[in-house]
Each structure stands twice: as structure tokens, then as C-alpha cells.
């Protein structure tokens, strides 16, 4: 199959089109703009709808309307825009509607900057808005993986009737990489008997998030929680890289994981037993990856490498549960961890070398 050169942001768009998504609502924000530019051109070509909304409040509620009416639908944004969407995301999660939301993270808090960071991890993995709910969070680390995971995202959204958040950063969104595009697979849109699409002779459907009677609200929360538990068991995804005999295991996702692969290769050349766990689902967090590695018995340290002041490390500590020490190295504000600095941290731990 021929390879084509594609930008990360465009890959989200192309992946969505190939997955049968025909509705996109969004509001401009850097560094995800190319996604909107791409779909503004592509959607009309496939008979789909691209609509620029007046705000992220509006775009996420357009997603709510279209998803509730039965459409396969997507939106995208970054930092401040994703914060504005949280009200709507909470409603979509409560109403159990499928959709895909892309967050190309930017520096923060506040207006921050447009450089690559991973500091929306807490917001992404803890639901993000008000109430007791979860999103499935997918974190690709290459342009090829973006294409593959967008397909997966729509499958998961419709399997669990839950919003899916795809987390990238400015670097992943902006860079170009060669990708292999399969022959277009045939997509399938399952029947949606729950969709409020006009009765057309059938029963009445209500898309609702109001549960005024506490007993009913508790029942609904219980139902949602059962679903989240099932997802935690069935949908953990991660990549092991050189972990088999590793004494130090790096943990990193997305862009930071790309740097860490380089770190692992460099360390291995120097005879240092270093490996990497790359979470692909940030929620559910891949606890199983840690249980497996700990069962091998060789690992002495974990080192979380993040483009934040330390957010994923909390989930790693929960997964490791005190069985080994978990250390942290982070760059933030749009600065990237570089190979030599991570190697220094590795040596500090493995060789007890002080720099």
C-alpha cells in the first residue's frame, strides 16, 4: 500500500471520514486548526456536514443534538475550548450518546501558549466536567496511530454509548509523517433505536439528563458505573517496549513516549536494562501492564516522564500500589523532555550516579 505524507491534525479528519463520521461541529483554536480546515474541505466531498459554531459551548451542544438524533459526529478543540465544552460533555455522558472529541492540548493554565504539553491529563481522565462520569481517553503517539485509533474511537463510542476523548498535543497535531492508508474499509452504522429522530410511527424517545428523584438518579449513576467497570476490565490498551528484563521502566504517553523510546534504545546500547510502558488508553488506565511487569520480578524502579508537573504519576502510583518506587521527570509550559536529560535521570536511579 502506498504511503502518503500527512499532518497529525489532518489524520484525525481523514480517519473520521474513513470511519463514517459525516458531521463535524467546531470552533477555531490553535494548535488544532488544520483539523477544521481539512474537514471543511473534505466533508462536502463525501456529502457530510461541516459547521463552524459561534463557540465551543455551541459546538459541543450541536454534537449533543446530532448524536441524539442518530448521527456519527465529532468535534475538536484545545485547552480553553475543551474547558468550555465540559458542561456539554457531562450532558452527553449522562445521556449516553456516542461521539468523538479531539483535544490537541496546549500550554496552560489560562491562555498559556500553543506549544505541546500534556497538562490536560487530569481533566481528560477524571471526566472533566461536573458529576460522576468517565470518558474513554485514547492517546496516539504517531500520525499512523491517529488514523487507526480514530476508527477505534467510533467503534468504542457506539459499543459503550459514551463520548470518547482523543488526546494529542501541538507537536503530534502539527507534524507530518508518512502513513499507510488501507483500502477504505466499509463502515457500518448500527441501528439506533434510542435516537430521538422523530417518531415516524414508532415509540417516543427522550434524550434526557434530568433525574429529579434521587432514587432514579442513583439508579442511573449505578448503571453508568457498571458500564465504566466493564470498560476498565475490557478496554485497557498499552504498548510494552523492551520491558522483558527491564530494571527501570519508563512510563510515558503520546509525544513524551516518542522521546522515551529513543531513551530506551540509547540506554540499551549502553547496556542499561531500561524499558517503556506506553499507555494508549489513559482512561481506563492500563493497570494490567503494571501487574504483568511486576510479576516478572526484574523491575526495580518506575520513572514517569510527562510534559506536565506530574499528573499521570498518580495513576501509576495507584497501579503500582507501593510495590516499587515511582519517580518523576517532567518538562512543562511547552518545553519538551530531551533524550540526554531523561538518560541522566535513568542513570541517577540505576547507577546511583549524581549528575
Amino acid at each position: 500500500m502506498a504511503k502518503v505524507l500527512m499532518k497529525g491534525n489532518e489524520a484525525f479528519g481523514e480517519g473520521a471520514i474513513r470511519a463514517g463520521c459525516r458531521f463535524y461541529f467546531g470552533y477555531p483554536i490553535t494548535p488544532q486548526s488544520e483539523l477544521a480546515h481539512f474537514l471543511a474541505k473534505r466533508m462536502p466531498e463525501v456529502g457530510g456536514t461541516f459547521l463552524q459554531a459561534e463557540s465551543e459551548l455551541a459546538s459541543i451542544n450541536m454534537v449533543f443534538g446530532a448524536a441524539g438524533a442518530g448521527a456519527r459526529v465529532m468535534t475538536s478543540s484545545s485547552g480553553p475550548g475543551i474547558s468550555l465544552m465540559q458542561e456539554g460533555i457531562s450532558f452527553i455522558a449522562c445521556a449516553e450518546l456516542p461521539c468523538v472529541i479531539v483535544n490537541i492540548m496546549r500550554g496552560g493554565p489560562g491562555l498559556g501558549n500553543i506549544a505541546p504539553v500534556q497538562s490536560d491529563y487530569f481533566q481528560a481522565t477524571r471526566g472533566g466536567g461536573h458529576g460522576d462520569y468517565r470518558l474513554i481517553v485514547l492517546a496516539p503517539s504517531s500520525v499512523q496511530e491517529i488514523i487507526d485509533l480514530v476508527w477505534e474511537a467510533f467503534v468504542l463510542a457506539e459499543k459503550y454509548l459514551n463520548p470518547i476523548l482523543m488526546l494529542g498535543d501541538g507537536l503530534l497535531g502539527q507534524m507530518m509523517e508518512p502513513v499507510e492508508l488501507d483500502e477504505e474499509k466499509e463502515f457500518f452504522i448500527p441501528l439506533r433505536p434510542w435516537a430521538a429522530s422523530g417518531r415516524m410511527g414508532g415509540p417516543k424517545r427522550i434524550i434526557n439528563t434530568l433525574y429529579i428523584v434521587p432514587e432514579e438518579a442513583e439508579k442511573h449513576n449505578f448503571k453508568l458505573n457498571q458500564k465504566y467497570k466493564e470498560i476498565e476490565v475490557k478496554e485497557q490498551r498499552w504498548e510494552n517496549y523492551q520491558t522483558k528484563d527491564a530494571q527501570l521502566v519508563l512510563v510515558a504517553f503520546g509525544t513524551a513516549a516518542r522521546v522515551c523510546k529513543g531513551v530506551v534504545d540509547y540506554c540499551r546500547e549502553q547496556g542499561l536494562p531500561v524499558g517503556l510502558i506506553r499507555p494508549i488508553t489513559l482512561w481506563p488506565f492500563p493497570d494490567k501492564a503494571f501487574d504483568y511487569i511486576l510479576s516478572l520480578g526484574t523491575v526495580r524502579y518506575f520513572l514517569s516522564v510527562e510534559m506536565s508537573t506530574g499528573q499521570m504519576i498518580e495513576d501509576i502510583r495507584l497501579a503500582v500500589d507501593g510495590r516499587r518506587p515511582v519517580h518523576f521527570y517532567g518538562r512543562f509550559g511547552g518545553m519538551l523532555p530531551v533524550l540526554t536529560d531523561v538518560v541522566k535521570e535513568v542513570k541517577k536511579l540505576l547507577l546511583k550516579e549524581e549528575p
Binding site: 458531521f23 455551541a58 449533543f64 446530532a66 427522550i206
Partner: protein, 252 residues
């Protein structure tokens, strides 16, 4: 055998309204349901209800229906209508929902000329949350958050929604009506019907502002409330058509 002359419209569920005594939401619900039936669009109609006293509209209308976040009904309706252009989509929104927290969504839905019908219920207070000042509360009007009366210096000025929407290009039909007496209820029904017809003929966005009574939060009896509406609300919010579809305007 007697001839049946009055019945519950098909688009209205056979359940009692939760509204307070003398509240006119029930009348407006019924008028919308009657129009849906008369236009024979029940099967393809999708409603969007707001946050506020009308949040339970999904219990009363028998068509497919969404309950939207506060103020976001026009965005939700946009998503529905874009996904299903052959369906009939309406929103039902109060003054806080439409003219305060949801002002952005409603203005842009109108500017885009979304082919939806909007029913805007203006009773000059937040009903559900306990009678606070609304964007449409009159100067001097006492509410729970303006206990000394709405002071223009402190609280600013009421928003005249129809006047504002009359200059938005995408809005095809904009009208203000009232339900304080039978003659005006008949006029309100005509306006509601027109708002649906504008959508059905693809002419664009339609908004009908309906002046409504809230005896509970106005501290009046139902009968006094209707008089207060006629004397005070209509004085500030004059009734009539603010914009009619272009084709029709040519014939006037």
C-alpha cells in the same frame, strides 16, 4: 351519540401539568401541540426543552424530545436539524434560558438562518429557581434578587428580544404575542402556526415571543397576574409582527 367538539391533542401526553395555578405555560404547551396536530407533522417533530419551569416539557409533549443544557437549546436544535433536515424541530425556552445564558446560541442560530421554530416564553422572572431577576424584568419590578425593584443604574436595562432579532438577516419571522385573554390566545396560536409553516417552507429561522404570567413569583392571584401582564408587560414589550417572510412582505 354526541359529536366530540373538544379533545386533547395527539401531541400532548395524557398527564397533569406540574405548573403553578394561573401559570400560562400549560396554555402555550397546548397551543403548540394543537398546531403540530393541525399541520399533521406529529410523526416528524422533534422538540428541545430548556432548563427552567419548562424542563419537564418532555413529559408533556408526545413527540421525540431532547432536554438541553441551560440556554443551549438552539445549538442542540441546530445539531438535530443539520443531521435530519426533513424533520420539524422546535425549541421551547424561557427568558433566562434564551435572553441571558443562551443569548449567544440563539443569536447565532438566527444569524445562520437555522430552519427551526423557537418559542420564547417571557414572564419577566426566573420561575423555577425562585423568582430572580430575568433579562426581561421591568425597571422597578421587585424580584428576589431585586428586592428594592430593578434599578437601571445597578441592574441595567431589560432586553427587548423581538426588536433585536428584527434586524438579524437569517431570521425570517419574528413576532411577539401574549396569552392574557382568549383573543390573544387565538393570535398566539396563529403565530405558532406561522413559525412552523416558515420552517416547513424552508424560509429560515422563526421566533415567537410569548408574554406569559407567573402569579407565584409576581405575588399576585391568577386573575391579577393576567391584568398585570396586560398593563405592564405589554407596555414595555409591544405586541405584533417584527419581521415577516420576504415573499409575504412583497404582497403587503
Amino acid at each position: 351519540m354526541y359529536k366530540k367538539v373538544f379533545a386533547r391533542p395527539k401531541a400532548l401526553e395524557d398527564v397533569p401539568f406540574h405548573f403553578c395555578p394561573g401559570c400560562t405555560h400549560g396554555i402555550i404547551h397546548r397551543l403548540i401541540a394543537e398546531v403540530i396536530e393541525e399541520l399533521n407533522v406529529f410523526e416528524q417533530t422533534i422538540g428541545v426543552c430548556p432548563v427552567g419551569c419548562a424542563v419537564f416539557a418532555y413529559n408533556y409533549f408526545a413527540c421525540d424530545i431532547f432536554q438541553a443544557a441551560h440556554g443551549r437549546a438552539p445549538a442542540v436544535a441546530t445539531g438535530i436539524k443539520r443531521a435530519l433536515p426533513d424533520r420539524v424541530v422546535f425549541t421551547y425556552q424561557g427568558d433566562g434560558d434564551l435572553a441571558a445564558i443562551g443569548m449567544g446560541e440563539i443569536v447565532h442560530a438566527a444569524a445562520r438562518g437555522e430552519k427551526i421554530s423557537v418559542f420564547f416564553i417571557n414572564n419577566s422572572v426566573y420561575g423555577m429557581t425562585g423568582g430572580q431577576m430575568a433579562p426581561t424584568t421591568l425597571p422597578g419590578q421587585v424580584t428576589t434578587t431585586t428586592p428594592y425593584g430593578r434599578d437601571r443604574e445597578i441592574n441595567g436595562n431589560p432586553v427587548r428580544v423581538c426588536e433585536m432579532f428584527s434586524v438579524i438577516d437569517g431570521a425570517a419571522y419574528v413576532a411577539r404575542v401574549s396569552v392574557h385573554n382568549p383573543a390573544n390566545i387565538i393570535k398566539t396560536k396563529k403565530a405558532i402556526k406561522k413559525a412552523f409553516q416558515v420552517q416547513l417552507s424552508g424560509l429560515g429561522f422563526a421566533l415567537v415571543e410569548i408574554l406569559s404570567a407567573c402569579p407565584t413569583n409576581w405575588g399576585l392571584s391568577p386573575a391579577e397576574a393576567l391584568n398585570w401582564l396586560a398593563e405592564n408587560l405589554i407596555a414595555y414589550y409591544p405586541l405584533g409582527d417584527f419581521k415577516i417572510p420576504k415573499e409575504e412582505a412583497k404582497n403587503v
